[in-house]
Subunit: 388 residues, 4 copies
Amino acid sequence: MNTKETLLDLFLDTRKHSEAICKPLQKEDYVVQPIVDVSPPKWHLGHTTWFFEEFLLDSYLPGYKRFHDQYAYVFNSYYESIGARVVRTDRGNLSRPSVDEIYEYRAYVTQHMAQLIENHWKAELTPILEIGIHHEKQHQELLLTDIKFILGNNPLLPVYNQINDEVFVSKNTSKWIKMPAQIYEVGHKGEGFSYDNEQPRHRVFLEAYEISSELVTCGEWIDFINDGGYTNVMLWHTEGWDWVQKNNICAPMYWFEENNQWNQYTLNGVTGINKSSAITHVSYYEAFAFAQWKGLRLPTEFEWEAAQESFNWGKRWEWTESAYLPYPNYQKPDGALGEYNGKFMVNQKVLRGSSIATPTQHARTTYRNFFHPYLRWQFTSLRLAQSI
Amino acid sequence: MNTKETLLDLFLDTRKHSEAICKPLQKEDYVVQPIVDVSPPKWHLGHTTWFFEEFLLDSYLPGYKRFHDQYAYVFNSYYESIGARVVRTDRGNLSRPSVDEIYEYRAYVTQHMAQLIENHWKAELTPILEIGIHHEKQHQELLLTDIKFILGNNPLLPVYNQINDEVFVSKNTSKWIKMPAQIYEVGHKGEGFSYDNEQPRHRVFLEAYEISSELVTCGEWIDFINDGGYTNVMLWHTEGWDWVQKNNICAPMYWFEENNQWNQYTLNGVTGINKSSAITHVSYYEAFAFAQWKGLRLPTEFEWEAAQESFNWGKRWEWTESAYLPYPNYQKPDGALGEYNGKFMVNQKVLRGSSIATPTQHARTTYRNFFHPYLRWQFTSLRLAQSI
Amino acid sequence: MNTKETLLDLFLDTRKHSEAICKPLQKEDYVVQPIVDVSPPKWHLGHTTWFFEEFLLDSYLPGYKRFHDQYAYVFNSYYESIGARVVRTDRGNLSRPSVDEIYEYRAYVTQHMAQLIENHWKAELTPILEIGIHHEKQHQELLLTDIKFILGNNPLLPVYNQINDEVFVSKNTSKWIKMPAQIYEVGHKGEGFSYDNEQPRHRVFLEAYEISSELVTCGEWIDFINDGGYTNVMLWHTEGWDWVQKNNICAPMYWFEENNQWNQYTLNGVTGINKSSAITHVSYYEAFAFAQWKGLRLPTEFEWEAAQESFNWGKRWEWTESAYLPYPNYQKPDGALGEYNGKFMVNQKVLRGSSIATPTQHARTTYRNFFHPYLRWQFTSLRLAQSI
Amino acid sequence: MNTKETLLDLFLDTRKHSEAICKPLQKEDYVVQPIVDVSPPKWHLGHTTWFFEEFLLDSYLPGYKRFHDQYAYVFNSYYESIGARVVRTDRGNLSRPSVDEIYEYRAYVTQHMAQLIENHWKAELTPILEIGIHHEKQHQELLLTDIKFILGNNPLLPVYNQINDEVFVSKNTSKWIKMPAQIYEVGHKGEGFSYDNEQPRHRVFLEAYEISSELVTCGEWIDFINDGGYTNVMLWHTEGWDWVQKNNICAPMYWFEENNQWNQYTLNGVTGINKSSAITHVSYYEAFAFAQWKGLRLPTEFEWEAAQESFNWGKRWEWTESAYLPYPNYQKPDGALGEYNGKFMVNQKVLRGSSIATPTQHARTTYRNFFHPYLRWQFTSLRLAQSI
């Protein structure tokens, strides 16, 4: 159990880290929203701050005065219930509040949160604070992937920083990990923080299967491309094929061909493709088609969780075959946080693992990430499996 | 195992039944396609016929000559790979071939199939014929629901026939069926026909649960409406809520309010709502929201299959919580039929059971129907469950 | 001024002619609506009939009983103001009323109109009847072009009848007709029928210009294609270029290339292209781009009208440079007919002349046809002009 | 004729004025593009600069080196013809180049232009420079209206500056100006600068008409609203009515109702509506519907030009009834500038006059502004007319 002191440290470190991610940005980079799935960095900074104001300061810090009475509207995720002055807008059109104002807002809320933790803390607030901290950590990952999208879709292809976001895979040591048919336990065990979608821990029966010890590489992906993978309708889901056709998909995101050579945009600018690095920025549709082409399949999220101790993971999110569904006996939390957090989802696929963009203390073996099957701006990859 | 004779009988009965379904139609009713999910009845009649020509007659009946060289194009499901004369068209714009021509086409193919079965049969053709027959049976269900949509969305609201398509539910005898936590076997056992998505039979572990012995009623649904079910965002999936808003959904399909009274279109014309009849023509989104409102949930497809011997089913398709996924160790069939039949699907929910529109010999305890979560023109309903 | 007898003859002839146009159709052809601009033939037959019921029989024939109380809704042009039973539908989804029912409706209305004209006529009804007759004639032209679209976009490309809808142009006798700068009078003179948009007659000043005595030919159009006309952005309006790109336009409607040879669908089936025939089924955007390519321009509608006595016209509608605007001092008619007829239009271009689909007594030197600039399913063509 | 010195002054003043308009902005305001018709202020600053680089410096200043080799791509209007590194982007997603970099770009180009004008000038460059200057002036007007849109659609409704952008109308002195039927000359006379669409000067014949000496007021518009103007289909063009319905239009842009009182966003923040001020920010569709409601009409652009000496104008752009068409004998300019400038337009309506956002020396009696009929973010208004 976290003490008040460790909570405060964790809180302050988390707040600092969000700002550190944005350090290399110019002010203009904070503002834009090239696609609906990407949020402007300044919105992330404001939204994670609003969370603490909304669910902690406003109710529990005596005499707290909100920084600005319109920010609750501006930085909430959902603009549905609005008053008279409804204006046509979305996140990417909001030039105000300015970046400086948002940093002031952050400082104001951080400071008042420190007061709350130090002087007015009650044990019952700890779970809310933990959710707020992990909520901000989750947005830190989005911050980095959204920044990559914003810069990587700018015609000047500016460098973010000296980070090399590639990950190397050794196919020499690649092997099939055999897993016997039996009942496995999955889900969060209950010590430490987890999101409610990782609970309750429960039993699943898995038929025997094998799972690869390594991720698929860029070299294998180039073989897939050269073998006509993107033009063979038989490999694709019906909706995946529509997506390929409509968007002229012919390679992973950030790849482009010049002089018969594949290049890519990375956070460190444009580089060539290293055949030994893990394939990244592919959609579930692409991952599935690749597995079909190999005569193999993706693991389910439970196959992944059951076997994860036997392989290295953590640099890339890994698509699974599983649709995102609540666990048996899942209970939506009560109250405002439940309303905020417990959105029901359909049509999304589970990803397991974590990525180089995942902040420290945010990866867990039971973590269930989920995205629509066509999305690929996250650091997504895949690991193959087969029934035996 | 079916003999040649029983196969021929089954084949001929199936062919006749498709035509019997269309008996009450006027020629114009065969032609239209009000929404993309509905096909014109004449297309169903032609498409099911084309299947036999494509996969049996053309290859196995000596000297067979296709009825018309363009019909393979017109009655295939997919218009993707086409020659030079590509024309802007879709099923609902095809006035030709005419209904009479399609009936001639049917007679021609039926007669040649009889020849093939009687005079040139080989055991290896039986599985293909069985698929063709079940394919036509599956389209018979669609025929009836598509006809209901075509007539029920015509401002004259014409009667189809004297069929009463309502189903009554006795809530007096309603009870919770308790199912223990254990490993269950699910999937087709291997005798008799099944689709390949029902295989292979395999083990699943289910935590303890209860499932209702009865379907939800229209009376309960009116309570849901009156309690603001369609306007309470907290009950809905994010995408379900978008669907409600965008389409102004406020009641099941075919319901309309007049003088503060709910009415509905049935195959027998407009009638009032009987509170004891099973709710029908609701989407998965609506089924889910209703279960939320009740503080309960939908069963998974495996919970349904494990418990199905303990309740009555068969008049309504029942939404489950399960996303449509291939079973462990599923193998896509080889060859042309595999290409035709083995389409990969995402973003669809499994329905279990069968409906009053399901033809005889087409219902199975392991049958997995699947549709997008917003669809509701099938005879869909729901049964509630809860973890214990 | 028309007498009662000539009115009755004109009325009956008009009614018969609509039905004669549909004679070669199969019932299914009456039903479909491949694009929003095309109406199902049975809708044309019903709508023109409804007009007489709505504006004459219902008010002026003593004791008249409407044929069906829902037809006013079904056959009105606008579905906006509807009662409780609003159903999702549009013209191309209406299988009912059936073709037979619509012919009964026609006979019923025609017969009652004959009674009205013979036994209850008043002079003040003559203008309404004339509008009704010309309204039906206008729909006769649409009937034929809509039928051509329905059949010409069917993969079986069925023949409508033995009509050859091509028109030959003699370039040997082609010449520039010089017109001096001066005030011209344009608009309907006031004897005989005209639509209100042809009035009032008024003066326009035209700077000196020349106009071609002949239409552009298919041979010239092939030169335009071969010279890259459809791929040279400099020749096109911004919106025309978007239209070309989005719809992959590379030739007139109904043209398709096979074995390096251009063919076309005509009402008489598929034929080759005769280089001497008038180019047809081109949009305003294409007509404009062609004129740019030639270093010439389209005439304005007034240039066309001022010069029309000096050239042959009548087989093709001719695009002009003029936007469709009301004439100076135009007064919208009062009352229900005004509401029905006096729709204001923007973003449409005027076409002058008439076509082989225009029924007798419906062409006038002052007739102002108008369509959106991207439409081309009418028998459209062009004649070139230049300032001097 | 401008001398080198006056040209340089005019050039430098124009460059300064663009930057002065942006003075009150925060950096973030430069970046966003809330709707496609609005451009980010930083794009305007870069685009107007690129024009001088592209059409003058690159060809005529010896030894000139472009500031950045990608800017020609970034700041051109059209992204159609691009090389290999095509990226998904549009103006509102471009965080780079940064605002500071664009100001450096501006300074670089301004300074080199001064060198060119002072040291290497040739008379033949004067027309190009004049177009460049007027091009930038035209963008100055867009800058201000785009800024108003960006701030006026932000939920914080920030103030731009102390400018009061309202214009008062005295209805006391309002009168009808009578104009006789005769030939009038319209179009630019040839001294001083004009755009090529104002030429050639030519004759038009106008039937007798009257035109109001004053613009329509907000008070009259409130009467129109209260009389159901926005809900009476009979007043609207078909496409205007669709626009009203689809976008829930019920008042001019920037108006919103609070406590039964109309308010508006102005560049100086939110204020009430002054009934004596000129109605502003209405579309052509609204202007037309208002005129219908009054039983009057809009003037044509020629009626406006013929009468303009008799009334005050210049604070608001005035919608006319005229579609935007080239003048008789209009010749598209040759060469690159022609390609850049001579885009053909359809479906746009002419506005005459100028507005409070129009920079000095940019208003002309023959100026032809044109926009799609649904647009209203410019300072648009209307003046009524009638035929007599």
